[in-house]
Symmetry: C2
Subunit: 263 residues, 2 copies
């Protein structure tokens, strides 16, 4: 039994077909396992906390794996980032869109997916129309006219423990229950952006993106903030808002253990 | 004879094979002519001021063309931007990486390429290593340790009228002369970026990118700022610095007529 290693990862999802390994597509898991095999000289299967979709970004994705190599695991960020072509590491040509932020050794029974106790996602809506950031934000007609106060009232209705079936796209991995707890859901706005951040113990398929779409429709006045309780109770996807595109979505932080979720 | 129209354009060069039309590649000229044909119902050939390379961005590229359509030319930005999928215009699916900034009618003898009297380019070098902007900046090892004072001294040597053959990549369109005038060349630095801006009456093939590479090598101490005069006088490409990648380069402004070039 080798060491049980946890890495924290950031990536720009623009040019990935999502996290999960696929035979004929460039994925984050696939790229990381490819580099680990190059370094360790053996196949390494990594367990990611979240299977982010194509186009979704990460500021703090996590993954765990067994490490049997003689190379000290502490060197992994430096060695891996050089292979990934991260800025400042001198290898040109590689796209530089994944970066290992940190590495640590964990107890034998730790697993990046099953030991996760919560996640924070960030969703960025752009007000500027800047064409240079179009794959990193949602550019939405009328974003500068959204009613932020109503969106915050709706966010309060969503916060807490509920059956969130209304915010689930069918077709994802089957789940035991659609009950989840949202610890925190904030809507901040400045001259350039609206930033929605949500922390929960877990999220259903497309749940964050449908919450964002619902909040936008509230901000537009198409739905009222007081409708939201009834939308959740209906358990009907058809009553919630549209699914916001993946480009504005960032997996921001993974929680393990008893951390304070109100970040 | 129709109206002679000038448009100002910004684009994110990441997913274009440069400005110039090609039969089997996505180019800025190709996309603009495609949309103009859709609107006008006839082939329209546009004349761009600068043939930016693959990966190069523009904040203020210009192009002129003859407009015979009954549609008032003043509507072109709105109508074209909707086709391009620019944010806020409501057409989803289109990539939104070109935007028409403005349109105006020009005298019959105006030509966006031949009437140009100067250009400003911006080059952005990143210090942060942020993976989310990697196609918009140069990410260069040690960028945060470059000696800005020396780079500014070297920039002074480059400013003025010189034979700039040392800053030309062979293989471009043949030119009558390699003498050019640099009106202004600035190097600014803050916590996140080094920004180099250069204004001249014209630029040889790759000239801005080789100037940037040369300034970087001065900033690293590989070349001294006092070497630069001799490098220019040598007229030898081998003595100048490396060609900086296209990703950090922005065509910022085109001058027509007697404007003040010291922007």
């Amino acid at each position: 039994m080798g060491k049980n290693i946890l890495i924290k990862i950031e990536y720009d999802g623009t040019n990935f077909s999502g996290w999960q390994k696929q035979s004929n597509a460039r994925t984050v898991q696939g790229e990381i396992e490819h580099v680990l095999k190059y370094i360790a000289g053996e196949e390494i299967n990594i367990h990611g906390t979240s299977r982010t979709d194509a186009g979704v970004h990460a500021l703090g994705q996590c993954a765990s794996f067994e490490w049997n190599s003689k190379m000290p695991f502490e060197k992994l960020p430096e060695v891996m980032n050089r292979r990934f072509g991260v800025a400042g590491t001198g290898r040109s040509g590689a796209p530089g869109d994944i970066r290992i932020i940190s590495v640590e050794e964990k107890p034998e029974d730790f697993h990046a997916r099953y030991s996760c106790t919560g996640k924070t996602y960030r969703y960025v809506i752009d007000k500027t129309g800047d064409i240079f950031i179009r794959n990193k934000v949602l550019q939405y007609p009328g974003a500068d006219r959204l009613d932020i106060i109503s969106m915050r009232k709706a966010a309060e209705e969503i916060t807490g423990t509920h059956d969130f079936k209304c915010f689930e796209t069918s077709g994802g991995t089957p789940r035991e229950t659609t009950i989840r707890t949202i610890y925190n859901l904030t809507v901040e706005s400045d001259d350039n952006n609206i930033v929605i951040e949500v922390t929960g113990d877990g999220f259903l398929y497309n749940m964050v993106r449908i919450i964002v779409g619902t909040l936008i429709e509230v901000g537009e006045g198409k739905k009222s903030s007081s409708d939201v309780k009834a939308i959740i109770e209906s358990r009907d996807r058809g009553n919630a808002g549209f699914t916001a595109p993946p480009q504005g979505l960032y997996l921001k932080k993974i929680f393990f253990g008893e951390e304070n979720f109100c970040v």
